[in-house]
Amino acid sequence: MSQIPALIPTSLLLASLVALLVGLKSHRAAHLIALAGAVVAFVCSLLGLQAVIQGDGEAIRYAMGAWVPPIGIEFVLDSLAAYMVTLITFIGVMVLIYAPRSLAFETPGRQGMVYPSMTLVLAGLVGMCLTGDVFNLYVFLEIAALAAYALLAIGDRGAPVATLRYLLFGAVGGGFYLLGVAYLYFAAGTVNMADLSMRLPELMESQAVIVAAVLMVVGLGVKMALFPFHLWLPDVYTNAPSVSAGLIAPIMTKVSAYAIIRLFLDVFPPGFFTESLPIATTIGWVSAAGIVFGSVLAIAQHDYRRMLAYSSVGQLGYIGLGIGLANPLGMIGGLLHILNHALMKGLLFMIGGAVRLRFGTTKIPEYVGVGRAMPWTMVAFTVGVLAMVGIPPTAGFFSKWYLLLGAADAGAWIWFAVIIVSSLLSAIYFFRVVEMIYRDPETDSAVADHEPREAGEAPASMFWPITIMATAVMAVGIFNVLIVSALLERIVAPLGG
């Protein structure tokens, strides 16, 4: 049991290395190895999750190379890390099952290098969640980012330019974070998170610590695509292959949000983000602006992927709003939205890829007739849309519900209004797609029929991950009370009851 925090990233790193070597010869073998690595990591995450819940939130600690922290780097599997890691590896397994058919269509001949990059992204992200060391977090952040650049750049014509812009933004974000680590180290003399949380309460007034907190949050904010640092995001998601977008859109930005939450709850002393300096409130306001901005721009988009990208800018704002509220209910809403949005966005990007495989288009006006050709996939799509809008009993409703409770609790009525208005806006842009899908060209002379390239539902390797994701969206909604009481309430305990 005590080895689990190390096993999760190690199995993914190992799979990545072997898949890279094997991928030179056969991309099928590389796929199987990558999938095996992700499945092992997912099983380990589930075991870890179970152990953490049964141990009443007691963290499982693993000292890398048997160097005792704070000298060595430790990996910590606590409630928050277990929650994130299980989510990341689940999405990873789903996207890896989904990947081969979609890649064969969208990026033929280049699949061999995609699988090692995918496992490397996953390894970087789980490493970020598990590490108990703020500098090690930077290294995993950049591992994930570098592998993601490779995955995104193989997309459509505009992909290299969009990726280069993302890279420049990412380098600035990483640089700010690293500078923050430097200030923190010079002020407190350690980079171990547990050690920092012991030493920082004495340094609440230190200017170096305040500068460090601001730099780290700004750096992670750029990586998280927090408004107004979201500029890189729409072009990147629009040009990426469906598989890359399906892997990166759900989890990459969320893990940076996780890092902010981790700093807020466990590294800096309670109240530091709210009292010494209004960091949390600032995050909340820019998130509220991002929610409105993203939702409004999503309405104007004709490309399905670009619409989802702008919707992501808005949805990430909900997580930021949860941080900004800085009360237990709001934070539960934000954390729950990390899970919900990852499942919903992953589902919607995967469906986009399935439609692209059958119809060869990503333009919403050309989606006419999709509902007839792929009825079951479109049922899953409708589930995803209902969840995005936030209609019970889908997952999306409950995170918004907690956020609304949190906003009411804090008396933040403007944010309360923003959440409700943006739900209406997302109803507008998603129901527009639903309408296109279910239009019948035979009785409706206003639209031209769009013949599919191939008839029928998506192939089984794509159809089943979509179905499972749609089921998960429903299941997380129905069983959200279990998740909240077993995990999230314990995570937000530092905020007080």
Partner: protein, 125 residues
């Protein structure tokens, strides 16, 4: 007074200058290659900040020398150096990926000027 301030802080002032030059290059320059150069300068300023913060007058490399004794005053703290070494590796990897993307763009469009590149991209679409 001012001279004292400058003499005691000049490394930090130079580092801040490099930081600003790097950010300026990344945001203002139109040529993608110059943006990447700006990114490298930006990253270097952060490495230098780490190193500067860890320097110690009159201390030596952190290998225990029985003749000198084990007083921490005599040895440089190795952790910031190790952190910077790791960060440099990360930075090199980022630069490598950036250069390979630039190579792809130059082969495809024959220019590295951002505005011109976007224009040619739109035309070919």
């Amino acid at each position: 007074m001012t001279a004292d301030f400058l003499l005691s802080r000049y490394p930090y002032i130079l580092i801040a200058l490099l930081f600003g030059i790097g950010l300026y290059g990344m945001t203002v320059k139109r040529n993608l290659m110059k943006k990447v150069i700006g990114m490298t300068i930006f990253q270097t300023s952060i490495y230098l900040f780490f190193i500067q913060g860890a320097t110690k007058q009159g201390a030596t490399i952190p290998v225990l020398d029985p003749e000198m004794g084990s007083s921490p005053e005599l040895y440089i703290n190795p952790l910031p150096q190790v952190i910077v070494l790791t960060a440099i590796v990360v930075g090199v990897a980022i630069t490598g990926v950036a250069l390979s993307l630039i190579l792809v763009l130059h082969r495809r469009y024959g220019t590295l000027d951002e505005v011109e590149l976007l224009r040619r991209m739109r035309e070919s679409a």
